[in-house]
């Protein structure tokens, strides 16, 4: 049994605040899915393309100028995080013990550490580069890790319905 999460309690909470009812209206779930996909597009369009630029794609495009579009990616991330949270709390049993979701959240955590490392160590050096300069090796690596994580997030997201219950994956659960 699960010592950390209680799917029933999470679902009861979602009902108490109305998310469950909203998501179970005729268009609630599809609209949340659409917002989730639009958010991913904004993320790949700005953060993903910035990653590619750091990796060496499109030389001549100023990384400093391109970075000004990252707020669109942050907005996209927020759209995905909010709708993703709504999916999970509405049907926790479908998601918590799903290896695709577990992988997806792990990749998001790696991307989070990666972006923190970027802003703490390399962002200033990258911002000072001219349009035709190449990013330093560690910035290229950070860009690659970021893009790989986000494409992995998309892949894992697509696999969620592949591991529907009765699939049950729970490394943190205890016997009994």
């Amino acid at each position: 049994m699960d010592p950390i999460f209680s799917p029933d309690a999470i679902e009861a909470w979602a009902k108490s605040v109305g998310i469950f009812q909203l998501m179970n209206t005729q268009w609630g779930w599809p609209i949340a899915e659409i917002i989730h996909f639009l958010g991913l597009c904004l993320l790949i369009a700005t953060v993903g393309m910035f990653d590619l630029r750091m990796m060496g794609v499109a030389p001549g495009v100023s990384m400093n100028a391109l970075h000004k579009l990252v707020p669109f990616g942050v907005a996209g991330y927020a759209m995905c995080a909010i709708t993703g949270f709504m999916f999970i709390v509405t049907a926790p049993g479908q998601y918590l013990y799903n290896p695709a979701i577990q992988t997806k959240l792990t990749l998001m955590a790696i991307a989070g550490v990666n972006v923190a490392v970027f802003y703490l160590t390399t962002a200033r050096a990258v911002a000072s580069l001219g349009p035709d300069d190449s990013a330093p090796t560690h910035a290229r690596l950070i860009g690659f890790i970021s893009l790989a994580c986000w494409l992995g997030v998309i892949t894992a997201g697509r696999l969620v319905t592949f591991f529907r219950p009765p699939e049950f994956w729970c490394l943190w659960c205890v016997a009994g």
Binding site: F37, V61, R158
Partner: protein, 160 residues
Amino acid sequence: MIELFAAIEQTPFSIFMREDFYAYFIALIFHSIGMALLIGGGILLSLRFMGLAAAAKLERFAGFFPVMWVGAGLAIVSGLALLAAYPAKALTNPVFGLKFACLIAASIILWRIERRYFTADAQPLPQSARILAAIALALWLGGVVFGKLLLHTSTMLMVS
């Protein structure tokens, strides 16, 4: 037309796409990655043409075209495989036409802006080009919306 869909659905490839344990999911994954690269690049170009990140040289954004071409290739090949699985379900749904209208129109607009303005002396872009770019942005996003809606709006399913 329905007879043609039914015939396609009985081909070995169509049956394989539906019944193989992995085939449909693998095609879906490649479709998502391909669309992310194509539409991601499209959104980026649209934002730049609208006047954002104006300090970045316009014509150098051509460097993102190969990314979009790879994305388009992945999306088209995987899309044909997905279509082969359920042709009647997709092609009897008007939303399918809307998705294609959006994506093709967005591509044409970006292509025309690129043809006309990807020279170093054409900047800043005139108001008309910026408005067209905003329309292209809306069309890229519309392609995603209708693509996602396909799942929820089909009315004809002849095979399962």
